[in-house]
């Protein structure tokens, strides 16, 4: 793709910021390399590789089925409880992987950031790749369970990528905020595990949203609620409904998070190399 003649380089004030999005496209190879590196680290260093991606959702499925399904006696409708939990865990894992990856990404690549110029947005974007690969692994497991419980995919499965995209965008929006904030205030490191540990309960991963009518409106403010309902609608079939209000809130919050996230990231990224 390279021309034999090196391109002319004009250095002028504000140029990099005017050409930001074009630069982002030009640096796509870096994006692929960073993503590839992360995936390689995740799946080559550990002996069992993919197995670790499976252990966590599997154990969480068992624990949630016992605690929410058996102890708390939450109803699951027509679907078996483990499958209900797993269908909620799919988007949750996608989100939490993408969120924790992107929010730690700038600090994790401190050496790269402080040494050379490139659109910093590449780093948190590349961090999404590992989450996607993990998602694919868990999805295969889900397909196995789904077949075992005798629930077959319908045409609704076609809508799944849309819900995946929403989950990823929410994660990216929140991740951009946190990664930019962590560069300046290291305290925010503590916030991510916090949010994830508690988020798994505030998000209806282990239970159905239609069981708790009095808190449903509050839970709907969590953009992942809509995504999880969407996933269950796509995967479980049957009596699952996607409420337009819930989905609307999801999209609205996702759009808000993403635009403000990109704005804040862009506003602070010039200082990253100096203060990291």
């Amino acid at each position: 793709m390279e021309a034999t003649e090196p391109p002319e380089l004009v250095i002028e004030a504000g140029r990099s910021s005017r050409h930001y999005w074009r630069d982002l496209w030009r640096y796509r190879e870096l994006l692929f390399f960073l993503a590839w590196r992360d995936v390689k680290v995740r799946y080559k260093q550990a002996v069992l590789g993919a197995a670790w991606a499976l252990v966590q959702p599997l154990v969480t499925m068992v624990v949630f089925t016992l605690v929410f399904g058996k102890l708390a006696g939450m109803p699951s409708g027509t679907t078996p409880y483990p499958l209900l939990v797993l269908a909620g865990l799919l988007p949750w894992q996608l989100f939490s992987g993408a969120f924790s990856g992107s929010s730690g990404s700038i600090i994790a690549n401190a050496n790269l950031v402080s040494k050379v110029y490139f659109p910093r947005l590449v780093v948190p974007l590349a961090a999404l790749a590992v989450a996607l690969i993990d998602f694919a692994v868990v999805f295969v497991m889900y397909a196995g369970f789904s077949t075992w419980f005798g629930i077959w995919p319908t045409w609704r499965l076609l809508a799944l990528p849309a819900f995946m995209l929403v989950a990823l965008l929410i994660a990216l929006g929140a991740g951009l905020w946190l990664t930019a904030l962590t560069v300046k205030y290291r305290d925010f490191r503590f916030i991510v595990p916090f949010l994830l540990q508690v988020g798994v309960f505030i998000t209806p991963v282990g239970y159905r949203t239609d069981n708790i009518p009095n808190w449903r409106d509050l839970l709907a403010l969590n953009p992942l609620t809509g995504v999880i309902d969407g996933f269950r609608w796509c995967l479980l079939g049957g009596d699952y409904q996607v409420s337009a209000g819930l989905m609307g809130t999801s999209l609205l919050v996702a759009a808000l998070l993403l635009t403000t996230g990109v704005w804040f990231f862009r506003a602070t990224e010039r200082t990253f190399a100096d203060i990291i």
Partner: protein, 269 residues
């Protein structure tokens, strides 16, 4: 092969223990603006969020105090979380403790058992802080604090320290050889959290689940601590005997594992 006595080793290197614990506490808050305020802020935030989910949404109750309020629930929650965090932090940190310090293994003669010990000591320090905070808040609850129960806290915290120490020693030694343990720790902490009834009453009424959970020493210990400090009930010494036995076995096993594997650390690091 005879194993060195860990008590005499730790006593001989007590200055190192103090320094490492201090360093551990410093490191945890390095570079953060609020610094040590986090030690108090983080358990409180945790409690508030769990309270919202389990207390308000699920209306979970421990059902021991008559007319249990949300405030009573929050106090019992905070006490359970403080105990749980000591174990969870030991599990989460242990596998990398020795692995991250190859210089201490290869370059100098160093009492390595000090490193896991001071990690546990620093998380116990944080637990103590949040328990003191809890006692200060609990004074305002309707049931109040049982001061005789509060005096029994050292008896309740000792087995907790032993279990954490045993886990830290054992897992830090294993972590040197099996790097993959770090992938296991997040779900180990999840399992410990749910099986220890941190935010729900011990499920005595569900015979299938209780048949397993009644052997969980952390669940029993947390329950005894809540009874003693918050619920004005006497400690069940039979239960405490079991917990102490388990804790002693954990710390002994953890140490033996550590001491047996240590000669080989330098070969793989």
């Amino acid at each position: 092969m005879s194993l060195p006595n860990p008590l005499s080793t730790l006593h001989r290197h007590r200055d190192l223990v103090v320094q490492f614990t201090h360093r551990e506490l410093q490191l945890r808050h390095r570079g953060s603006r609020l610094g040590h305020v986090w030690a108090l802020l983080s358990p409180l935030t945790m409690m508030a969020l769990y309270l919202f989910v389990f207390g308000l949404i699920f209306k979970s109750k421990f059902g021991v105090l008559p007319n249990e309020t949300t405030f009573d629930f929050a106090l019992a929650l905070l006490l359970g979380l403080s105990f749980y965090h000591v174990i969870a932090e030991a599990i989460a940190a242990a596998p990398m403790l020795i692995t991250n310090q190859p210089n201490f293994v290869k370059k100098v003669v160093f009492p390595l058992e000090v490193i896991p010990f001071s990690t546990v000591a620093s998380s116990l320090y944080h637990a103590l802080l949040s328990i003191l905070l809890l006692l200060a808040i609990a004074v305002f609850s309707r049931a109040g604090v049982s001061w005789t129960g509060a005096l029994a806290l050292p008896v309740l915290l000792l087995p907790l320290a032993f279990m954490a120490l045993g886990l830290a020693w054992g897992m830090s030694a294993l972590g040197v050889f099996v790097r993959d343990i770090t992938h296991l720790t997040p779900f180990m902490t999840t399992v410990v959290m749910f099986s220890s009834a941190v935010f729900y009453a011990p499920p005595t009424r569900d015979p299938q689940i209780w048949a397993f959970l009644k052997f969980n020493p952390l669940l029993l210990l947390i329950n005894e601590a809540r009874k003693a400090v918050l619920w004005h009930a006497p400690i069940d010494y039979g239960v405490m005997g079991y917990v102490y036995l388990f804790a002693a076995a954990t710390v002994a096993l953890g140490y033996v594992l550590f001491a047996l594997l240590r000669p080989y650390f330098a070969e793989v690091l």
